[in-house]
């Protein structure tokens, strides 16, 4: 029996030795790594991290850890696993050999107590263990032999409003301040000194304003007190985990944030989030499947070598970010394979290896950087140090392995910018979808270009401006007409196109010209069509050719139908609604007149939009005000024309015009509701028929 046990132990040791030595075990991974760009997520990429080893409790020589909640390493690399169900801490040496359990604590006075459902622990540099002894509603500071040095109990403070005290995470900073996250406490992290005295809250998360919150606040104001009690309460989100970064800052994560932003926060001394791009700490794009939204839910965080590792229990993955919040890679998935998890609960680092604790499997899996991942990390380090030109080589290697890596394009672009290769820099920034930096590169490129071509630029600008001024001048148009007639040697003068005679003068003298048109009972289907087509076209051009720095849409992904829905369709709705409403209220405008006058009033808007499209390709981000100004002028100009067009075509007073416009908007709403009802009914019928069909198929 003894021999058998000895043989078994020897076998385990041999196995452990094998596992520990296997630092370069070749492996294919069970997960698909992906890159995300501004427009696309889930693009194929090589693996960033790969699994190298997996250990269960049995393999490490202890009993299985059946309900492990957390783990950590001390500065010597020893491993501590919190086994909540068994009320103990498993201690393993740096080679993952079992060293013993810590379950019973004793004081210097000889009093003993047992851990009860501990959830977390932290090992300070001085060797003391801080254990979140959740079942006993306390945190304790103990040495490795279980000598209880200090307890951190429920705060005896008026500011502590929670009914219970259930510590789930604990850590200690360099100054010895103890930070504790307790379940159901939403005011922030609890802060204690070394004497166990509660010092207050740290990093209180704010409640984010949202439309729903404002709407709920309105409803609450008119509700009875009973109704108010039943209504949802808006409280800040609770923190789920935290880690002490190598930079001395405390990083916290919240699995459930109110806006899916700031899931990871880097807290400064005041407790404020100073992480640079906090909005990017979610998946960016969430998936809605069967009407359920799937968000990233970070349940733990670790930091090493300037990288942030966030464990997402929703997708059972670890996301890796740099200190600027750029997502560098992702690894892990669900499953029974090495590198896949059933229920990953904690992430830690030791050296260059990232370890993940799987509560359900009762195992710890180590991951190490692949060649691709290491190259990215190398490039990011150089980049963050400002060694852009040195970073060009690793970034190029990254691109050789994955053309979908946007950071690599940006990195190369920075180097090109520094080397004065502005045109290439602009191209690479565009490939890296970095409008801010592209704007900087473009400013240099533009300066160079203007220096070389300033004469031509001013000449073209002058011609365009003079043409615009002349086209809006009626006398010039008359002169042009006469000149043309003369050129045709006495033949009767050809009529100038309606677009020219009816539209352009009206832009500068709307009252006189609209009255003239009204007097002539002028309506033109072709003019209206032309303007509507121009409106449509300018929006199409805007989507397709708006400057890279300002374009919020993917130029390759828009449909004519969508543009139609936001341009022509509203125009048609308004014309129909306005004509109908005004006809009922003694408006004098006929349908054709309403359409034509409304179309004419849109011309400034269209022209200015077109000019904005051209300028957007030549302006920098910091010159956006000019671009916005241009568009605003176009809109205001059109509004003025629109007001006069409405007043004159219907022969209304100013007040009545405003009233009729409001009623027209209401009319649009009614039309839309009717259309929506018809659509919804049609859809229901369709679903009904298809469901019946599929049911019959299965029977």
């Amino acid at each position: 029996m003894v021999a058998k046990a000895a043989k078994r132990v020897a076998g385990i040791l041999a196995l452990l030795l094998c596992l520990c030595l296997s630092l370069t075990v070749q492996a294919d991974t069970p997960y698909d790594t992906y890159e995300s760009t501004v427009w696309e997520s889930g693009l194929a990429a090589p693996d960033f991290y790969k699994p190298i080893s997996g250990f269960t409790g049995t393999q490490m020589g202890s009993e299985p850890f059946t309900d492990a909640e957390d783990f950590t390493f001390d500065k010597d690399g020893n491993l501590y696993i919190v086994d909540a169900l068994n009320n103990r801490i498993g201690i393993y040496d740096a080679s993952f050999r079992f060293a013993g359990y810590l379950s019973e604590l004793h004081t210097a006075e000889g009093e003993t107590s047992r851990l009860r459902q501990p959830k977390s622990l932290y090992v300070a540099d001085d060797g003391y263990l801080y254990i979140a002894d959740t079942g006993n509603s306390r945190c304790v500071k103990v040495d490795k032999d279980g000598l209880l040095v200090q307890s951190f109990l429920m705060p005896d403070s008026a500011s502590y409003t929670a009914e219970t005290y259930e510590p789930i995470r604990v850590l200690v900073d360099a100054n010895g301040m103890v930070y504790i996250i307790s379940d159901n406490v939403y005011q922030g992290v609890l802060m204690y000194d070394q004497q166990g005295v509660f010092q207050g809250y740290y990093g209180s998360p704010p409640v984010r304003a949202s439309l729903k919150l404002l709407a709920d606040r309105f409803w609450k104001s008119i509700m009875s007190s009973t109704q108010r009690e039943q209504f949802a309460q808006y409280v800040p989100v609770e923190y789920d985990s935290m880690t002490l970064g190598e930079d001395g800052y405390i990083y916290v994560v919240s699995a459930y944030t109110d806006s899916q932003t700031e899931q990871i926060r880097k807290l400064n001394a005041l407790g404020s989030n100073i992480l640079k791009y906090t909005k990017d700490f979610s998946m960016g794009k969430t998936l809605e499947y069967k009407r359920i939204k799937w968000y990233t839910r970070f349940s733990d965080v670790a930091m090493a070598n300037g990288l942030i590792f966030a464990l997402d229990f929703q997708w059972q993955r670890v996301y890796v970010y740099d200190s600027d919040g750029n997502r560098l890679g992702v690894f892990g998935t669900q499953g029974e394979q090495q590198g896949a998890f059933r229920q990953a609960v904690a992430v830690e680092t030791r050296g260059n290896t990232v370890y993940v604790l799987d509560k359900s499997k009762g195992s710890i899996t180590g991951f190490t950087l692949t060649e691709y991942g290491a190259t990215i990390v190398e490039a990011v380090e150089l980049y963050n140090r400002g060694d852009y030109t040195e970073a060009i080589e690793p970034w190029s290697r990254v691109l050789a392995m994955s053309a979908n890596n946007e950071l690599a394009y940006t990195g190369i672009a920075e180097a090109k910018l520094k080397l004065g290769e502005y045109k290439e820099a602009v191209e690479y920034f565009r490939l890296g979808n970095s409008p801010e930096r592209e704007s900087v590169a473009f400013s240099y490129y533009r300066s160079d270009f203007l220096r070389q071509n300033i004469g031509w630029v001013f000449a073209i600008l002058g011609i365009v401006l003079v043409s615009l001024v002349l086209l809006t001048e009626k006398h010039f148009l008359a002169f042009l007409s006469r000149a043309l007639s003369k050129a045709r040697e006495g033949k009767p003068p050809r009529r100038m196109p309606a677009m020219v005679t009816a539209v352009f003068p009206t832009m500068t003298s709307p009252i006189r010209n609209f009255n003239e048109l009204k007097f002539k009972r002028y309506s033109s289907f072709s003019l209206t069509l032309l303007v509507v087509v121009a409106l449509y076209a300018v929006h199409v051009f805007k989507r397709q050719f708006y400057g890279f720095r300002f374009n919020l849409y993917n130029p390759d992904e828009f449909s004519l139908l969508m543009v139609f829905a936001v341009t022509v369709f509203p125009f048609l709705l308004f014309v129909v609604s306005n004509w109908a409403v005004c006809a009922l209220t003694n408006g004098e405008g006929k349908f054709g007149e309403v359409a034509t006058f409304t179309a004419i009033s849109l011309v400034p808007y269209i022209l200015f939009q077109a000019v904005a499209v051209v300028f957007s390709n030549a302006l920098l981000l910091e010159e956006q005000a000019f671009l916005s100004g241009l568009e605003v002028v176009g809109v205001l100009w059109s509004l003025v024309l629109f007001f006069h067009a409405q007043r004159i075509v219907h022969n209304f007073s100013t007040g009545k015009v405003l009233g009729m416009v409001l009623l027209s908007v209401l009319g649009i709403a009614v039309i839309l509701i009717i259309l929506l009802l018809i659509f919804a009914l049609g859809q229901q019928v369709w679903y009904f028929v298809t469901t019946i069909y599929s049911e019959l198929q299965y029977r």
């Binding site: 196995l15 030595l21 070749q26 069970p30 069967k290 896949a340 195992s363 979908n404």
Partner: protein, 747 residues
């Protein structure tokens, strides 16, 4: 027609019952019956090979001998033992000390003593339950044993469940065969049998030394006493899951079991089990010691009926629900059989012996073309389709990546330099890029003209250029084919569509079209038409999915999985052309001149300890084995070495296009293979490994050894070997020092 079949089945059932029990009524089931077979006269008989059986194990009697194998059985319990007379080693159908196993409790102890396990479904409850023959048959007196000329036939009557399963255990030259007579299974009650596990603990071992071999991917071993009780047992479908069952989501990638084989290797003996009939419905399972019992075991499980998930209602609606459909009739494949080949092997030599046995099993099925001589492969894509918007008008355009002219220039450079580099060309057909039926060589204009293609073919040497074609899936209709009409039907008679899955969310990619899955006769017609349109016999054909996607067709005249397996097996090698298969299952792999994208790893399930190149060892020699594209991995250098470790020819992806042109293509591969970076690298790697593959052309890999931690040796039949050092330290081999992360070829 269906009613007539049902009627016939009922009559057959009654007849069988009459044969079995006498009067064919349910009550008769309660009579236990054991046929005693006299065997004394055979005890001292030498076999024709000159071996003498040992004395029967306690409680058993001698049954018969053949070759170097003899069979003993306990005619009361039905337990039996097979003796390898060369060594005197006994393999028991269940562990002889099963009843005393301290680690097995309750049902698991009963299972440990069972020759078969059965999953059945109550038609009333709709719940699957697992039964074992010891508890449900032996203990209730439901065992009937018949003696056959070269073995036994045992009827396992499940007394309460009211069904009976006949299994024959017969000797063959190198071991014995367990055959489940599926067509003779009798079901009388409301329980229907859905799967049968055959000899789950046959030859199970509980020692410290030894391992189990599962055919997962390249092959993998589970070492004994590796303390894996916390992990899930190993279970995988043979040849992957039925391809017509499109899952909702795909969270992880895994390899399939391409070979219908498994092995158990103990301290001084082992066996290789081959599912030589019914593998299309087989599953491979393995249990490590500590998982329910003290024994390590691997075994086959066979489906007797098929189930399928079906969605009712709108796919996007919250109200929809998924129901499980079970096939009403049993799979009509006659029988399933597993051949157990006994080996005189040790843990060190077991893999070599098993591979040799497997090679012998496939002997005589080699491709009818000369072995290829390429020492490196590049695969390249003609182009990809991309949706773009031109002034708001949505258009689908072909974006070229490597035109015919560029491919020709590459081959020209390679051939002029005298390099043996093969090329696999994909995404070049007009129909291929547009998702239509690929039944001719009409090329996409963006990739090149017919004249360019002709020039490319002229440049290519014999067996150097392969054109990829996928006749199994079609997205859109063409004038020759309506995909809906020709698609395979599932159990609910719905046309089957396959989906691509998103890497980030795992669900089907809504941006990509679904493909209809075509039935084999239609696919064969398309393939024939394509091959006929090839202008030159020099051009090889690379079949993308035909060899590794197995599925049934529930249309009226549709093919079962077994029929499809046989159909694909007969397809190759009829025209003397070199065919390349994309990591094929064994029935398709045997006829291929080359196998590409061969896995270098297993699925790496938690329970698996070590990957081994078993697939490579079995099929090397007359077929070229080509790796997955090395430059799609995160560790490219390591992957190159792994490729050599597995004895596979390196394979790179390469396109002429600039890196930025590979951005946002939506392709699952070709994301890092631009000529800008890879041209020189590929040629360098070729130079490094070409001598190895030149010397091993046509040679089988006969041995694979782990020399030290992360140091491996692979040996070919002509004695050439390669020592691959994947560790970070130099390794001193018999042939000299092997630098860290390097390799040495030993001639």
């Amino acid at each position: 027609m269906r009613n007539i079949r049902k009627g016939l089945a009922a009559v057959a059932t009654v007849c069988l019952l009459l044969t079995l029990g006498g009067c064919g009524v349910v009550e008769e089931f309660s009579h236990p019956s054991v046929e005693r077979v006299s065997s004394v006269e055979a005890l001292v008989a030498y076999t024709d090979m000159g071996y003498l059986p040992s004395m029967a194990p306690e409680g058993m009697e001698y049954i018969c001998s053949l070759g170097y194998v003899s069979l003993f059985a306990d005619m009361t319990t039905g337990h039996f033992a097979v003796e390898d007379m060369r060594s005197g080693q006994l393999y028991y159908s269940v562990p002889p000390m099963a009843a005393q196993d301290e680690n097995a409790y309750g049902t698991y102890k009963k299972r440990l003593q069972s020759e078969i396990w059965v999953n059945d479904l109550s038609t009333d409850e709709g719940v699957l339950k697992t039964r074992n023959s010891w508890e449900s048959s032996n203990e209730k007196g439901g065992l009937v044993i018949e003696r056959l000329e070269n073995g036994l036939r045992v009827w396992y009557k499940f007394m309460e469940e009211l069904y009976a399963i006949p299994v024959e255990y017969t000797l063959c030259e190198d071991g014995f065969r367990a055959t489940v007579l599926m067509d003779s299974i009798i079901e009388q009650g409301d329980r229907q049998i859905y799967s049968i596990s055959v000899l789950p603990y046959f030859g199970a071992q509980s020692g410290e030394e030894g391992w189990l071999l599962v055919p997962d991917g390249s092959g993998a071993r589970i070492h004994f006493s590796s303390e894996k009780q916390e992990y899930a047992p190993y279970t995988q479908n043979l040849y992957g899951s039925d391809y017509l069952q499109t899952p909702d989501y795909m969270a992880n990638r895994q390899e399939a079991c391409y070979l219908p084989m498994l092995g158990v290797q103990g301290a001084d003996s082992g066996f290789l089990a081959i599912a030589d009939n019914g593998a299309a419905y087989g599953n491979v399972k393995a249990l490590a010691d500590g998982q329910y019992t003290s024994y390590n075991t691997a075994y086959f499980d066979f489906d007797t009926r098929v189930k399928q998930d079906a969605l009712i209602g709108n796919v996007n609606a919250f109200t929809n629900k998924t129901v499980v459909l079970y096939e009403e009739g049993a799979i009509g494949i006659g029988s399933t059989s597993v051949r157990y080949c006994l080996l005189e092997s040790s843990p060190e030599t077991g893999l070599k012996e098993m591979a040799a046995t497997a090679r012998a099993y496939y002997a005589g099925q080699e491709p009818a073309v000369s072995p290829l001589t390429n020492a490196l492969y590049v695969s390249t894509a003609g182009g990809y389709r991309t949706k773009t918007s031109v002034l708001g008008i949505r258009m689908e355009l072909t974006h070229p990546l490597t035109t015919f002219r560029e491919a020709e220039a590459w081959l020209q450079e390679v051939n002029q330099a005298g390099l043996s580099i093969g090329m696999v060309y994909e995404n070049y057909l007009s129909a291929q890029l547009r998702g239509k039926a690929e039944n001719n060589l009409r090329v996409d204009a963006a990739v090149g003209s017919n004249a360019d293609l002709t020039a490319l073919l002229e440049e290519a040497g014999q067996g150097q250029l392969f054109f990829t074609v996928d006749p199994l899936t079609v997205e859109k209709a063409s004038w020759t084919l309506s995909p809906i009409k020709t698609a395979v039907l599932d159990m609910a008679a719905m046309p089957v569509q396959t989906a691509a899955y998103r890497r980030d969310t795992w669900f089907a990619n809504a941006n990509m079209s679904k493909s209809y899955l075509l039935s084999l006769p239609v696919a064969t017609t398309l393939l024939d038409a394509f091959v006929e349109s090839l202008p030159s016999a020099k051009a090889g054909v690379c079949l993308d999915a035909l060899g590794n996607k197995l599925y049934a067709d529930y249309a009226e005249n549709g093919l079962s999985k077994a029929e499809m397996q046989a159909g694909v097996g007969d397809l190759l090698g009829v025209d003397g052309r070199a065919y390349m298969m994309n990591c094929a299952n064994d029935y398709a792999a045997v006829g291929a001149a080359a196998l590409i994208n061969v896995p270098g790893y297993s699925s790496r399930y938690d329970i698996l300890d070590e990957d081994v190149p078993f697939y490579q060892m079995v099929f090397s020699g007359s077929r070229q084995l080509i790796s997955k594209p090395i430059n799609s991995y995160g560790d490219i250098e390591e992957e190159y070495l792994n490729c050599l470790r597995n004895g596979m020819i390196p394979h790179y992806q390469w396109v002429q296009a600039e890196p930025s042109e590979l951005q946002n293509t939506g392709l699952e591969s070709y994301f890092g293979c631009s000529d800008t970076y890879w041209h020189d690298e590929i040629l360098t790697k070729y130079e490094a490994c070409q001598s190895l593959f030149r010397e091993t052309t046509g040679q089988a890999i006969v041995d694979y050894r782990v020399l030290a931690d992360n140091v491996y040796e692979t040996v070919w039949a002509n004695g050439v070997s390669v020592v691959v050092n994947l560790s970070t330290e130099p390794y001193m081999s018999e042939a000299g020092q092997v630098a860290a992360r390097s390799f040495v070829v030993v001639a």
